[in-house]
Symmetry: C2
Amino acid sequence: MKNCIIIQSGGPTSAINSSLAGVVKGAIEAGYSHVYGAVNGIVGVLSQNVIDITEIAKKDDSFQRRLSHTPAMYLGSCRMRMPDPKMEPAIYDALYAFFKSLDITAFFGIGGNDSMDTIAKLSAYFGSKNAGISVIGIPKTIDNDLLATDHTPGFGSAAKYVATTVREMAYDTMIYPVKSITIVEIMGRDSGWLTAASALARGNGVDAPQLIYLPEVPFSVEQCIADTRSLLKHRNSVLIAVSEGIRDSSGEYIASADAKEDKFGHKMLSGTGKAIEHILSNALGTKIRSVELNIPERCGIHLASKTDLDEAYKMGQVAVGLADKGLSGRMVVIERADASDYKPVYSSVPVQEVANGVRMVPRDYISESGNDVTEKMTDYLSPLIQGQVEIEYRDGLPDFLPIDHLMDTTR
Amino acid sequence: MKNCIIIQSGGPTSAINSSLAGVVKGAIEAGYSHVYGAVNGIVGVLSQNVIDITEIAKKDDSFQRRLSHTPAMYLGSCRMRMPDPKMEPAIYDALYAFFKSLDITAFFGIGGNDSMDTIAKLSAYFGSKNAGISVIGIPKTIDNDLLATDHTPGFGSAAKYVATTVREMAYDTMIYPVKSITIVEIMGRDSGWLTAASALARGNGVDAPQLIYLPEVPFSVEQCIADTRSLLKHRNSVLIAVSEGIRDSSGEYIASADAKEDKFGHKMLSGTGKAIEHILSNALGTKIRSVELNIPERCGIHLASKTDLDEAYKMGQVAVGLADKGLSGRMVVIERADASDYKPVYSSVPVQEVANGVRMVPRDYISESGNDVTEKMTDYLSPLIQGQVEIEYRDGLPDFLPIDHLMDTTR
């Protein structure tokens, strides 16, 4: 009997449950008897809080399909970082005993670079014990900032959400024949990939956003004021897309520059979009508003990219294949075979190549003046948002899988 | 030869272009030779900036369908209020001369209660001149606060957007096994209809939002703190939906209570959600965030309600029928024939019954404690969000009609 266990960790993406579904499908086909899911990531493994996903899937034919179309993280998450196995071996020994009791031969972790650190540590530990347990990582992050992979599952759906919403908002900004500025704040603390996706909104007679600022280029308040003033000379509505993580040349976040203290002395971080709203309003006096897209970017699965969910699913299956070959300590990656004709190719790399690194936007994907992206960027992004997902609706609303097992832990 | 002219005004809704499409369809069938659209509402009428929609529709078979699926306002908007005809007759006389030059026999205005004031004034003026020009209003507002109609086009789509997004966010809030509060700020300055729609998110194993605050009930900071503290005793994640327009018992907006001045002395209104975030964070010390749904509520047409767009379209056709009967100064309304089996019935009322009034949420649609809605509310809301709209996609993004005629006015 061979069984496997899966965790999800880090922040949600629209594709992380598709990867889970892909692992489940792959594992059943590869002859695993039970696919266990740990509730709330590695915390669930350590507290032995697991559910048997194969049993749930057997009872409900629609489970696999609905799982792929359920937002956030079916198994829940955690932010725990595993200690060094040499420093705290007891934790690892307990975990190993638990795995042995469940006949676990493979462990799959779906997450970002913090999660890949967990994968690396577990793989090293099991290797040192000759445990016969493969440990495989499957990437996900809306930030698209993992090394060694062309892109990450979850990013394409978030990018599609951003581009669609910005296009719709562009229509909204053009209805009045008066000067106005709209600022859209998009997630991305360190890298600007997701904010760059706002450029895909262009077309259809829409030329918004007119300005795009990413964290990779130091943000100049003076230049932003000058850029906006210049645009307003020739047009009414200006739409500006900014990453939440933009910083000035001294490395200070623009959001924190605007932070005020409330009457209790608490610092109120008003957000990057609000900060720029205040700056431009004071400088230009133009009608202005800011919109923070916020967590719907990562949980708005009704706008998921079919390409993204399909790739995430496939990567789950590929992960099972790697474990079946006895490989361990590897993360599934995706390569772009041909730059002109998009075709994903799946392979894997040692997880150490990924853990704790960040992939920034290359400088030639950003315009020389630093206030837009180049065609290299839009050519890169466009294939990732293709295709729509047919979410099932019931009573006018998306019919997601219930997550009572997470509810239980919250009571 | 009989021709007609249409304006759109006020703020965008996902359904206002469907009403425009319904008028165009109805007018062509009723034998109107030309359907003119004024660009930017009554401002376009006064400046004689009109486009011939029949000509555009003739050149493009997909125009009518795509028009219904294009967000915001195809003809643009304005915030101008018409003066009293007795005070400034010259404006009306010029408008009348322009209409005569175009052989206009009917005028249609799609808008909220300000727009109905324009309809009333134009109808009175043309009546006094025996001009033979019918003036008909078609309602729209995401706020759902117009008198004399069961609901307003645009509301159902915004409600579906709110309910879907809150349901998706509820999944996002449940992934961590830690105490957390999420505040969702929803549009509605005076009435709470749209915020109430967040209650539809419940189901599917989701019980969020746990608290809902509408402007119709004075907001007590102390009660909100107590409500939240009480919930956190028994559960981890609490999701709170608030109308932007909630006020305390003295009538002051909660948002303004939190307003700070920046270093230039400008008042920074941080928003109702942010204000409550600060209040609860200071009182409870729990992990907290706030999300303002903002303008995607009104322009997020990819999540439109089919029921809403179909009704909006039908109301455009009904408006043409009223004009053809020689009626004037009336607004199309929708009645609910049978409370238990939803079926819309179309009729009309004198526009004076609507202009300048506001329909608040009845007290028995709100729970006694004022922090939730009752079943009467969800029974009322549910039929309005039924059905999905098949937006066409191109290159992974919604394929909307271009609005170059609005771009021209913005350069």
